[in-house]
């Protein structure tokens, strides 16, 4: 699992920094550009997709593992009528932000999923962009990733009631580049912006769900992540002067390089994005 210090590098730059270039729900993950070119609408499409695929209804208890700034829970509560939502996050800045918003029906807990012990079981689960933090690069090199991923799926199984549906989204490893500049580009983004994180290979996820979850749907959205990254990059550049002034040249330049690199790796197929719909095996 990424450490709290790793998570702080990725998510604790500043809440207002991210708000300058993310959508209005503050969703820092791939959007769904179906029938729209607008980032706000594309994120709403994605949130709606997860609401439907996790079979969320107003009376269900919903868990969001790695809840970010709480945008998904806000959307489910304010736009879809969900009444009982719990998010967990290892980012102190995100935890504080969700707490301060105080959206009715939304609770947030600070900490790693490894220490999480819910008081009551959940009826629906969503996890977007957190799976990449479960195993570290060292654990993958040591061949421990399958065991660690399976342990994660076991825990979620134990936290849920029979009949639970689980919507999971993760960046996945696709092709490995062979050119030095491209390999370094990919490695730089991970080590500088996402230290401690790994993009799992899809076949490892499919193995790890067994024997706890049945894969009902698997979608890949590589082109959607290229478009999402391009929209973020455009937003970042629109705010260049304020970002340089408030957070320094280095922050602007690192994020410009990182988001530009994301556009390229998704366009070239070095990484992709998976959305899985899982049903609890009861």
């Amino acid at each position: 699992m990424s450490t709290q210090a790793d998570i702080a590098v990725t998510y604790d730059v500043s809440n207002s920094f991210f708000s300058l270039w993310l959508d209005r729900w503050m969703i820092y993950s791939c959007a769904l550009f179906e029938g729209t070119d607008d980032l706000d609408q594309a994120q709403v499409n994605k949130l709606t997709w997860f609401f439907e695929k996790a079979r969320v209804t107003p009376e269900k208890r919903v868990l969001d593992i790695g809840c970010g700034w709480g945008g998904l829970m806000d959307f489910f509560a304010l736009e879809k009528g969900a009444k009982d939502l719990t998010g967990i996050t290892l980012s102190q800045a995100q935890y504080n932000w969700v707490k301060e918003k105080g959206t009715p029906g939304v609770k947030v807990e600070f900490g790693s999923y490894l220490n999480y012990q819910p008081q009551e079981k959940f009826d629906a689960v969503v996890s977007i962009g957190m799976f990449e933090h479960i195993a570290t690069p060292e654990q993958v090199r040591g061949g421990e990733n399958l065991r660690i991923y399976r342990d994660y799926f076991r825990r979620v199984w134990e936290w849920t009631t029979p009949g639970t549906w689980f919507g999971l989204q993760s960046v996945i490893g696709a092709l490995l580049p062979r050119k030095r500049e491209e390999i370094r580009d990919l490695g730089w983004g991970t080590s500088t912006i996402f230290p401690g994180a790994v993009t799992p290979r899809p076949e490892v996820i499919l193995s790890a769900v067994n024997p706890y979850w049945e894969v009902m749907e698997l979608w890949t959205r590589r082109e959607h992540y290229a478009r999402t990254s391009a929209a973020w990059l455009e937003g970042l550049r629109k705010n260049e002067s304020v970002i340089r002034e408030r957070w320094g040249d280095r922050t602007f330049e690192d994020y410009e390089r990182y988001l530009g690199g994301c556009v390229r790796v998704f366009e070239k197929g070095y990484q992709s994005l998976a959305q899985l719909v899982l049903r609890r095996i009861d």
Partner: protein, 79 residues
């Protein structure tokens, strides 16, 4: 391909990627780490050999490789 042909090809790819490795002696038992081949260099070596032989090595088997012999086996499987 014989073992010595494969070792020669890997050495050629290694020197192309990292000329400072020109005096390194490779054997099938050499571990990539011991002879100073990083994960980046290993991918470059793979790319050179793929182009030279007109093959494509599977990424999922390439990523966890840690010996020259493992790479040689992978090349042999694809030729």
């Amino acid at each position: 391909m014989t073992d010595s042909e494969i070792l020669g090809l890997i050495k050629e790819a290694l020197v192309k990627s990292s000329p400072e490795h020109k005096d390194v002696v490779l054997t099938m038992e050499s571990s990539l780490g011991e002879v100073g081949i990083s994960s980046i260099t290993a991918l470059e070596i793979a790319g050179y050999i793929e182009e030279k032989l007109g093959i494509r090595l599977p990424d999922d088997e390439l990523a966890p490789l840690n010996t020259i012999g493992g790479l040689a086996t992978l090349i042999r499987q694809q030729t």
